[in-house]
Structures are given as structure tokens and as C-alpha cells.
């Protein structure tokens, strides 16, 4: 909301010296936040001057400058003519111009000083409109004041700042949705008074007194809402006033056009400008119809299916049955009630009689229409937030008075005022409760004084009051609403600061701790953490090579996505990481290691019912709502592109390979003390021969890691051999164990190496598992220390060399024992995998 300061001054007494910033500071205290200050970004001395001499001097650079002397009265302190060099020549000797004397600062921080130029000392500047931040007046250069102002009222040396309105300021404030009444000068003025104690006279009181009551001659209007919304009729008051004999040639006076412009509205024509002016002044949206185009009666009704209306913005709209319409005779739509008028009934250049509508529309009806038609207007914004429920007659009266005064009209005696009674809002208030909620001990008479100040009427005494809020505050419905009023008018700065003692909690949860551990571990291994928005497109699933029946293809769609290319919710984090990796590579970082943890969609969604606000729908309903929310496990994904270890003076680098990616899984498993099983996997998006499938000991799938499928690499715009992995972090953390200490043996260990020849298809993990089984409890560790494939073994075989380390808890193992254990291990491996010992 833009508030021109001089308009605000009309309704509330603001100290003469107060600037826009002071007003903004006063308003912020009562909850109207400053959004910006406009205008008055110039300081003088900026004065009226009369050009005495103008000598044109051609220059070597092709320009012609004017060496002028200008009479600026006594404004320069000497009374002598001021010598000024001026590049523009659209003025002549004798003209009245605007002179910025040395010391003035023009918009943009442009400081004026006396300086030497083109062989003269130029002591100031003769100003053009744009240099002063004024709109161009068509002169195309220097302002000739006589074109704008009555020359006989001007004298050299006069302060030009107020003459040109350059001291005008507009304060822009943010109006919260509960304060519909602050979308008016009247409302903001009242709040300024609340903040500063300044004298405020509500202009509506006198207008309401002057407004005539409805009479039988009034223009026929029918309220025919056959489908009230949420039990509330769409229109509960309709005031119609008629003004005839308007002068079609009358134009909007400058002062009104200026105020409208400063408030952010475009002047259109006098009658339209008057309705807008009244809306901005008082907060009541009005609409004016060309009386000669309306046959009547005006019927307010809901729209019919398929009905259309071309609104003033020249858009033909198909209406919804819930839309509330103003119609002529019940048939022809004249406007979308409270949102925008239609082209039928629109005021034209020849309009001489108007019908002014001032109505009370239900916020819900208007909000829904505006939303359905994506049409937020000055009117709808006010009705949605709640317009003063007793403002229609006063606002219509002001519009009529202005039409009479400015457009030469004649107010018709016919007055329509249809009003359906409103349910009065009365709030029961225990005044002490306010202090208990706010934490300030307000005296009862302080509470009642503040409530009175904001316009409430109060009945009762002691510890129970019946408070009726003013008609402009439909947002006040409960006693905590009144508590906020008392607290803000008394001042939020009076609320003390007290640190409450919480009963003490359990600290971070296992999941929260676990997430930090996983993230720190990956960062410690060289991965940089990223996070991504969770939106993906269908095409990505194809690029990743997901089979048609891959469960990761089933996800939810966003109804209103930012991009039609990415309307789906992700089911996997790895693609996000790869996308970020690609971005890094494209920015010149060739070697990238990244990780991300985040939620993914992991299950079907149901239907979640909603219930009215302020009502506990019951345990069963809450359970049903919660059950409709799809499972969203937290996944951890990582990827490496380029080299895992960079090249340098120490030698060549080492390209990241599948083992780096799979190594992350093992590191995590160790960190969480979780036993995992790794087997050969074939899941997309991995290389089918270089993918590790990871399960928990009980067979629960945890995730996969390895090298990416070459097709995926090129489809995603990557190159080289990127590797990565993804696992279900929730499952990993949940599987985390607290192993029992077993006591360390101080007896010497004994080691024995075996080389086993196996079929190339046999997995090392299976061989190792068999060795462990066969070796028994005295086995301390098994390490695969060499892998050999070659001619000596023949096609299709490979040799796996393991080091077995044995140790007994309470004695030194004998060599024969160790040999026996080793043989048992080898035998077990032979049985399980066909391994034979290579001698």
C-alpha cells in the first residue's frame, strides 16, 4: 500500500516537520512494516530563475553551449545574476527556469557545485525535468516554468521544490492480511494516531451523517443469492446512488491525479478516478455504471454454468457457478462482483449519468472468484481481507459529492440501500487474561482505554467484559485478538525477556546423530555435500535406464510445477548428485566428489481429508490423514567424476573407480557397526558388471554402488567413468548396533597364506565367507591380498590369495593347530565354491 504523505495529513495531524521516514517509523510500531519510501530524494537550493542573457558559443567539439546569466533573486546570497553554462537551448532570454544552485543534490546523489567549464565558471545548473526526477512534460529539455505554472505567481529566488511537488513523499507499507482496513488512508491515519497519539477524526462519521437513507425511488436492486458459500450470502448490502448531468468534458484535477498516481493507480477518467479515489481514501471499493446502459433491475446472483463475461481488462471469461455476478435484469452480466466490472455498463466518453455501487461482499466468495480467475484487483484484495462492514453508504456519499463538485453532476434523490442484518460479534473478555498471555501486568483501565481507542465498545465490569469490535475490524473475533491490540498499542517493546526453563529433553535422536556421522564421514573422505530441489522429469528415468516396471518410476506429480520439464518428485538422490557433478565439470572443475542426503518418495500416497480450522477431528481422522502421506525415506548418495587422487609433483593421479564408490559403503558399515553383504548387482543406473548390491545381514536391501552404465553417462551429459552409490540412510542407521567388547588377547597371532584357484564366476565374497566358516572362532582376520589371472591358470579361472590370521584368547597357537585350521578353511572354501589350493 502506497500512502502519499500529504493525503495522509488530510485525516490525521502529523507534525509539520515529520518526514516520510518518521511516519514509517511510527507505523512500524503498530505493525505496518515499511516497504519503501518514494520521492523527496532531492535537496535544494533549487530556485526559480529568470534568464537575463543567453549567449550561444560554438565549441571545437561541435557542440554549442549557452553561456547564460540568470536572475535568482537573493537566493545566491548576493542578488547578482548567476553565471551558468547550459548545453540545451529550448529556452530564451526572459524565460522562467529552475536553477539548482551550488550545494543542491539532485536525485541519484548528483551534487551541484560551481566549476570551470568551456572557459566560464558555471555556478549551478538550469534543470531539465528528468534531472529532477519529474516526468517529461514534452518540452524535450529545460523546464520552462511558465508552461507548467501561472507565471505571474512566480518570482526569481522562490523555492522551486514545493512549486514542482518535489517535496512530496510516499510511504509504502506492507499490510498484513488481517488488516484490510489499512488499505485506505483512513485506516493508516488511524494507525498513525494509535502509534503517536496524534489527533484523528474519522471522516466516515460526517459522511455517514450526510448520506441519505434509502427510499422507494431508489434504483431497483435485488439480492438473489441462491447458493450462499459456507452458509454466508455473497452480498449483504447494496447501496446504489445516481448522479446525472455530468459534464463529459470535465477532467480529473491535478491534485487528484497526482494522489492516485502516487498511490500506484493510473488516472483514467474523472468518474472512474473518483471511485478509485474514494476506495483509496476510505477503503470501500466502488463501481460506477453508465446509467443509460442499465435497464434494471440490478440483480445480484450466482453465475450459471457456461455463462461468460468480458471484463474491463478485455478478457472474455467463462464463469463458474460459484462466481457472484452483478447483472442487469437478472440476465446480462455487468460485472464479477467485488473483483472487476464488465464491458457492458462501462463508462464511456459520452457518459452523463452514472449509477454508483457500494456493496458489502462476503470475503470467501470474492477470494474464490479472484483465485479461480487469477484476477487479483484493488477491489478483490480489499474484499478478501474484509472491508468495514458499515462503510457503503458513507463511501457512496463521498463519491456523489465529488461527482457533483468536480464533474458538475446533480445528485439524484433516488437512493437504494438494501441491507441484510449481520450477526454481531461480541467477545467475552477477562481483562487479566491479556496480561497472563502477554507477560505484562496491564491495569484493567489501561486495557479498556486501549480497546476504546481502537474503536471497541465495552460492556460489563470487573473480570468479565463484553467487547464489540468496531465495524472496520472484522478480524477481531477472539480475546487473544484483543490481547494483541492491547500489547501492540501499549508497545511490544514493553514486553520483558524471560528465558523459560524447559523440562529437559533426550538430546538428539539416533537418526539425527547418525546423519551427522554419515555426512562427516563422507566429507572426511573427500566428498563435498550438496543439496538439490527434489523435482525431476520423466525423461530422467529413461536416461537412467530404469526398466519399465522399475518402482522408482512410480512417484507423485506436482500439479503446479515451476517447470513442465520437472514435474515429478524424485525417488532417488543419486541423479541429483550427478546433475550437480555435471554442473561442476561444466564450470571447469574436472575432479569432483559429491554427496547428498535427502528425502525421496518411497511409497504410494493416499487421500488426506481436511477439516475446518480450530477443530480436533479425532484420533481416527488424524491417523487417516497421516496414513495418506507417502513414505519418504532419507537416502544418501555419492558420486565421483575424474580423479580420486589428483596428479601432482608426486606422480600421476588415480582415476576414481568402482572400488572408491563401493568403499564408501564399507566405511559407512564400519562406522555404524553394521554387518553388510555385498553381492553382484545389476541395478540401473550402474554398469551391469561393476555394480555392488548391498544388503543388511537379514537380507534387507540397503543400496547399490559401482561404476555408472556408459549409456547413462552419455545420456546425462557426463564423460569418463563416473562412479557412485546410493543407500537408504534410515535403514543403515536403524541397523546400527552397539557391539559388546570381547577382551583383547595378548598372545601372539599366527598367519597363514593360501592361494585358491576358483572359477572366474565365483565371487570373492563367497570364498571369504566360506574361509571364515571353515576356520572357526580362532580366525582373527581374512585379507584378500592378491588376485591373479593368467596363462598358468587357464581360461576362466583366477587365483585369490588370502592371508588368514589366527589368534587364541588364552594361549599361543601351535604351528600344527594353525595348519589344521587353515586346511579346514580351505576345505570349506572348496566345498562351497569349488576352490582348489594352488601349490
Amino acid at each position: 500500500m502506497r500512502v502519499p504523505v500529504d493525503w495522509l495529513r488530510e485525516y490525521v495531524e502529523i507534525p509539520k516537520q515529520a518526514r516520510g521516514a518518521d511516519i514509517a517509523a511510527a507505523l512500524v510500531k503498530v505493525g505496518l512494516e515499511e516497504e519503501g519510501l518514494h520521492g523527496a530524494d532531492l535537496t535544494g537550493p533549487l530556485v526559480v530563475g529568470r534568464v537575463l542573457t543567453q549567449q550561444l558559443e560554438p565549441q571545437k567539439n561541435g557542440k554549442t553551449i549557452g553561456w547564460c546569466t540568470v536572475d535568482v533573486g537573493d537566493a545566491n546570497g548576493t542578488g547578482e545574476p548567476q553565471g551558468i553554462v547550459c548545453g540545451a537551448h529550448n529556452f530564451q532570454e526572459g524565460d522562467l527556469v529552475v536553477v539548482a544552485l551550488p550545494g543542491s543534490v539532485l536525485p541519484g546523489g548528483f551534487a551541484i557545485s560551481a566549476r570551470k567549464t568551456y572557459g566560464h565558471v558555471s555556478a549551478g545548473m538550469i534543470c531539465a525535468a528528468d534531472e529532477l526526477g519529474l516526468p517529461d512534460d514534452g518540452s524535450g529539455g529545460i523546464i520552462r516554468l511558465a508552461d507548467r505554472l501561472p507565471a505571474h505567481e512566480l518570482a526569481p529566488g522562490d523555492d522551486a521544490v514545493p512549486l514542482l511537488g518535489l517535496d512530496r513523499e510516499t510511504v509504502e507499507i506492507n499490510v498484513t492480511p488481517d488488516r484490510g482496513y489499512c488499505f485506505s488512508m483512513r485506516g493508516v491515519a488511524r494507525e498513525y494516531a494509535h502509534s503517536t497519539g496524534a489527533s484523528f477524526v474519522d471522516p466516515v462519521v460526517a459522511l455517514r451523517d450526510r448520506a441519505p437513507a434509502g427510499n422507494d425511488a431508489g434504483f431497483p436492486v435485488e439480492l438473489r443469492d441462491e447458493a450462499p458459500m459456507r452458509g454466508r450470502a455473497g452480498c449483504t448490502r447494496f447501496v446504489a446512488r445516481i448522479v446525472r448531468d455530468l459534464d463529459p468534458a470535465a477532467t480529473t484535477p491535478d491534485w487528484m491525479a497526482t494522489r492516485l498516481t502516487e498511490a500506484g493507480m493510473r488516472p483514467i477518467s474523472l468518474p472512474v478516478d473518483i471511485t478509485n479515489y474514494v476506495m483509496l481514501a476510505l477503503g470501500q471499493p466502488l463501481h460506477a455504471y453508465d446509467l443509460d446502459t442499465v435497464t434494471g433491475p440490478i440483480v445480484v446472483r450466482r453465475a450459471r454454468a457456461g455463462e461468460t463475461l468480458t471484463t474491463l481488462d478485455d478478457v472474455r471469461r467463462t464463469l463458474y457457478p460459484q462466481d457472484l455476478l452483478i447483472t442487469d435484469g437478472g440476465e446480462r452480466p455487468l460485472g464479477l462482483a467485488g473483483v472487476m466490472g464488465g464491458q457492458d455498463g462501462e463508462l464511456g466518453e459520452g457518459t452523463t449519468a452514472v449509477l454508483v455501487e457500494a456493496a458489502r461482499f462476503d470475503p470467501v466468495t470474492i477470494a474464490r472468484s479472484a483465485r479461480r480467475h487469477r484476477l487479483t484487483t484493488e477491489a478483490s484484495r480489499r474484499f478478501e481481507r474484509g472491508v468495514d462492514t458499515d462503510l457503503a453508504a458513507a463511501a457512496a456519499q463521498l463519491a456523489v459529492e465529488l461527482l457533483v463538485e468536480l464533474a458538475g453532476g446533480r445528485a439524484d434523490a433516488a437512493v437504494t440501500d438494501l441491507a441484510e442484518p449481520l450477526e454481531p460479534v461480541v467477545i467475552d473478555l477477562d481483562p487479566a487474561a491479556i496480561g497472563r498471555l502477554v507477560g505484562v501486568d496491564y491495569a484493567v483501565d489501561r486495557v479498556t482505554a486501549i480497546l476504546d481507542e481502537i474503536g471497541c465498545s465495552i460492556d460489563g465490569s470487573g473480570d468479565l467484559f463484553a467487547v464489540t469490535p468496531p465495524t472496520w475490524r472484522p478480524d477481531l473475533t477472539t480475546w487473544p485478538d484483543l490481547a494483541e491490540e492491547v500489547a501492540r498499542i501499549d508497545g511490544y517493546d514493553r514486553i520483558p525477556s524471560v528465558l523459560p526453563a524447559a523440562p529437559g529433553g533426550r538430546g538428539l535422536t539416533t537418526e539425527q546423530e547418525g546423519r551427522r556421522l554419515a555426512a562427516n564421514l563422507l566429507a572426511g573422505r573427500g566428498f563435498s555435500q550438496v543439496w538439490s530441489a527434489p523435482f525431476v522429469g520423466e525423461a530422467l528415468f529413461d536416461q537412467l535406464g530404469y526398466p519399465a516396471d522399475d518402482p522408482r518410476r512410480s512417484t507423485l506429480r506436482i500439479a503446479n510445477p515451476l517447470s513442465d520439464e520437472a514435474p515429478l518428485l524424485r525417488t532417488s538422490v543419486l541423479p541429483s548428485v550427478l546433475e550437480v557433478a555435471r554442473r561442476n565439470v561444466s564450470r571447469g572443475t574436472k575432479d569432483v566428489a559429491l554427496f547428498e542426503h535427502g528425502l525421496v518418495l518411497g511409497g504410494p500416497a493416499g487421500v488426506a481429508p481436511t477439516y475446518d480450522v480450530g477443530v480436533y477431528p479425532g484420533a481416527e481422522a488424524v491417523e487417516q490423514i497421516a496414513a495418506a502421506v507417502p513414505a519418504q525415506p532419507r537416502h544418501l548418495a555419492w558420486a565421483m567424476v575424474g580423479e580420486a587422487e589428483p596428479a601432482g609433483w608426486w606422480g600421476p593421479g588415480r582415476a576414481a573407480d568402482w572400488a572408491d564408490a563401493v568403499g564408501v559403503v564399507h566405511a559407512l558399515a564400519e562406522a555404524f557397526a553394521v554387518e553388510i553383504r555385498v553381492s553382484t548387482g545389476a541395478e540401473a543406473p550402474f554398469h551391469p558388471g561393476r555394480c555392488a548390491r548391498v544388503e543388511l545381514a537379514d537380507g534387507t536391501y540397503l543400496g547399490s554402488a559401482g561404476e555408472l552404465h556408459p549409456k547413462v553417462v552419455s545420456a546425462l551429459g557426463l564423460s569418463g567413468r563416473p562412479v557412485g552409490g546410493e543407500l537408504d540412510l534410515d535403514r543403515l542407521i536403524a541397523a546400527s548396533t552397539s557391539p559388546q567388547a570381547s577382551g583383547l588377547s595378548n598372545y601372539p597371532s599366527a598367519q597363514s597364506d593360501v592361494a585358491l584357484v576358483v572359477d572366474a564366476a565365483v565371487r570373492a565374497a563367497d570364498v571369504e565367507a566360506a574361509l571364515r566358516r571353515g576356520a572357526g572362532d580362532l580366525l582373527e582376520s581374512v585379507t584378500l591380498f592378491d588376485v591373479y589371472e593368467g596363462d598358468q591358470l587357464g581360461e576362466g579361472s583366477r587365483s585369490l590369495a588370502y592371508r588368514l590370521v589366527f589368534r587364541a584368547p588364552e594361549r599361543t597357537l601351535r604351528t600344527e593347530e594353525v595348519n589344521d585350521l587353515r586346511d579346514a578353511a580351505v576345505a570349506a572354501a572348496g566345498t562351497a565354491t569349488g576352490a582348489t589350493q594352488r601349490i
Binding site: V28, K29, E33, P177, P363, A367, E384, R385, R436, L437, V438, P480, D481, E484, A487, Y492, I495, S497, V498, L499, P500, A502, P503, Q512, A519, N520, A523, G524, S528, Q529, W531, A533, P534, F535, L556, R557, I558, A559, N560, L562, R583, L594, G598, L599, A605, V607, A608, T610, V613, G614, V615, P617, V622, I625, A628, V629, P630, Q632, P646, W650
Partner: protein, 364 residues
């Protein structure tokens, strides 16, 4: 040295002659002193202490002497051998020490050639910031609660007193899950976690909710379609706005340092009544620079919204508003990070450029 001496060939050595013995000693000492390396010394040792050295030979002669001469000769030769042996030992130690020092010098490297063979990764500073705030709240005895990002509309709005037709609900710029009538959205704030916590745990309750939230904003320098919030909710008997202010003051002090000035300013939120905005005194200009870019010259920086929990919220979440009051607050983690680090472009926070994280350590 005491191996079988097959070449033993007794010679009448003049060494038994005192002058010859002295000469042999002098020869040995000067050879020892002249040895400049351990290898040299080894040669010298063989020549002057070995089996064929003059003194060894002289020693062997002693046995053949008449008893009367034995004692004197033995003493003389013994002393001579002792002197040579001592000198050898001392020189050996000197040369070993020199060698050890030389090796240390030779092995020296240029430690300024930073290896960096395995560069350290980084945590994302937004998450670190969230963890820091969580730790502060946990330190105050609160707990950290979490919830889903795809969330039921009822938890997100209705339970929090956002009426379906209230303008505030339109202002949220909500992503709806298709079809919208199924009642699922991407949460626009972490507040549904408050509703869930009240419903699951009842009062008294002191929880902080930290997480990712979504609004239909295109990505630019000051907006992100996804960002991070921290919210607090306390529900207990007798809580007031003063408790709210005290909690926020403490959080601000922990995050931004002693002496930070805060103010509450009236505002509006559907889930709180009374409602307030929490501002911080501009920590760039302190409210003294009308052209300050951090605070736009207002002297204050908007930090977050807060207020006393609306009774309708308590009711919807099955908490008795006659018995309990509560306060709630919420602010952007990303904004807090911007305040702390001077970060000015939000895009850098989400793009994942490794150079962004690399600016920070593993602590924020």
C-alpha cells in the same frame, strides 16, 4: 679376531722394544684421527687392531718371553692396545654421529610443497548452520522434531488455523501434489511438524523443527523454490510472550554474539495470536547508515515471525487452550547463514559448486 691363525709366523718383533711399541701406537692414533669416514675407520681398525697388526703381533710374542720380561712387556703392550682401542671407539662414535646428522640433512624435504593428495570434502554450510541451531536448542532442554516434506494439507494449513479461503493461504505459494483434491502438498513451512508433535506427544512440549520447505518461487538471487527453516514451539502452563522474547534473545545471542539487539514488532500469522516479527539491530551499520545495504537504511533486519500459539491451533491439535498456552517462532536457516557469512546470492547455496563449500570449514 680370534679365529684360528693359520698364518701364524712368530717373528722377532722389535715391538717389544718400547720405542717400536710407541711408534706403533703413534701410527695407529694418527691413522685413526685421519679416518674421515666409517669405511676409512674400518680399514684403519684392521690395520692397527687386526690380527696382523703390529700390536697384535707384539702381544703374541709376549708368551715366548722369559718370565722376567713378561710382566713388563705385557703391561706395555696392553696399555698400547688400550690406547688404540679407545681412540678407535671414540672416532667410531664421532663418525657415526656425523653420519646420522648428515642423513637428516640429506633427507630434508620442502614441506611447503603441500601434498593435498586426498583433498578434504566439506559439509554444506546450511546443514552445519541447522546443526548449530539444533545444538543451541538442545542445550536449552528442547528436542528436535522432524516430519515429511510431502505433507497432508491438513497438517500444513487447516490444523494451523489457515482457513481454506484465508488470503494467508494464498500467499503461501504452495506446490500441490496432483490431483490437488487429494489433500497433499509440499510443506511450505516446517509448522506441520508442530501439529504432528502436539498430536503425538501432547503438552508440555518444547521442540525445534528444522527442515526443508518449498514455495513456488523461481530461483534467483534472493529466492529459492526450496529452502530451510527452523521453527520452535513451546506449549506449557503459563507461557507468555515474555518467554517467547527470552528464548529468541538467547538464540540470537548464541548465533550472532553478545550484545545483539532484538525487537518484536506487531505482525500477523494465522497460527499465532498475538503475532510478531522479530528484528535484529543491523549488525553491519548498527542503524547508523541510511544507505546501508544490509538493512536498507532502516537499522533493522527482519529475522523471523513468531507469536503466541493461536487457540484454534491448540484445539485442532487436541491441546486444552484453557490449561495451556504456547509460543512459536520460525526463521530461515539460509538467511541466518547469509547474515553470518555475508553471502549475498542464494543461488550459490543450492547450485552445489564445490568452490562454494570450500570457502567454509567444517564448522559454521
Amino acid at each position: 679376531m680370534s679365529g684360528p691363525n693359520t698364518q701364524y709366523d712368530p717373528v722377532e718383533v722389535s715391538a717389544l722394544d718400547p720405542a717400536a711399541i710407541d711408534q706403533a701406537v703413534q701410527d695407529a692414533l694418527s691413522a685413526i684421527a685421519g679416518a674421515t669416514s666409517l669405511d676409512d675407520l674400518k680399514t684403519v681398525r684392521t690395520a692397527h687392531q687386526g690380527d696382523r697388526s703390529p700390536l697384535a703381533l707384539a702381544n703374541r710374542e709376549i708368551g715366548a718371553l722369559p718370565p722376567t720380561a713378561k710382566a713388563e712387556a705385557g703391561k706395555r703392550v696392553g696399555q698400547a692396545r688400550g690406547r688404540v682401542g679407545g681412540a678407535l671407539k671414540q672416532r667410531q662414535a664421532e663418525l657415526e654421529s656425523e653420519r646420522d646428522e648428515r642423513i637428516l640433512v640429506e633427507e630434508a624435504v620442502d614441506v611447503t610443497m603441500l601434498p593435498g593428495r586426498r583433498p578434504l570434502g566439506r559439509r554444506h554450510p546450511i546443514e552445519l548452520m541447522g546443526e548449530r541451531i539444533a545444538d543451541i536448542m538442545v542445550g536449552l532442554g528442547w528436542e528436535v522434531a522432524e516430519g515429511p516434506e510431502v505433507e497432508a494439507e491438513w497438517f500444513t494449513f487447516d490444523a494451523l488455523n489457515f482457513d481454506a479461503d484465508h488470503p494467508a493461504r494464498q500467499m503461501q505459494d504452495t506446490f500441490y501434489v496432483d490431483p490437488p483434491e487429494n489433500g497433499l502438498v509440499l510443506r511450505t513451512h516446517t509448522s506441520p511438524v508442530q501439529a504432528r508433535s502436539m498430536l503425538e506427544r501432547g503438552a508440555p512440549l518444547y521442540i525445534a523443527c528444522i527442515g526443508r520447505v518449498f514455495r513456488t518461487d523461481e530461483l534467483d538471487a534472493t529466492h529459492m523454490p526450496a529452502f530451510h527453516q527452523i521453527e520452535g514451539l513451546a506449549v506449557d502452563e503459563g507461557l507468555t510472550m515474555a518467554d517467547l522474547k527470552g528464548t529468541l534473545d538467547r538464540l540470537a545471542t548464541e548465533l550472532f554474539g553478545e550484545g545483539i539487539v532484538t525487537r518484536l514488532r506487531p505482525s500477523y500469522f494465522p497460527f499465532t495470536e498475538p503475532s510478531a516479527e522479530m528484528d535484529l539491530r543491523c549488525f553491519v551499520c548498527g542503524g547508523t547508515d541510511p544507505d546501508c545495504r544490509a538493512c536498507s537504511g532502516t537499522g533493522w533486519i527482519e529475522w523471523g515471525g513468531c507469536g503466541m500459539v493461536n487457540q484454534n491451533v491448540l484445539r485442532a491439535c487436541d491441546v486444552d487452550p484453557e490449561k495451556y498456552t504456547g509460543f512459536a517462532f520460525g526463521m530461515g536457516v539460509d538467511r541466518a547463514l547469509m547474515f553470518r557469512t555475508g553471502q549475498s546470492d542464494m543461488r550459490e547455496m543450492i547450485e552445489g559448486d564445490v568452490r562454494f563449500n570450500a570457502q567454509f570449514g567444517m564448522e559454521i
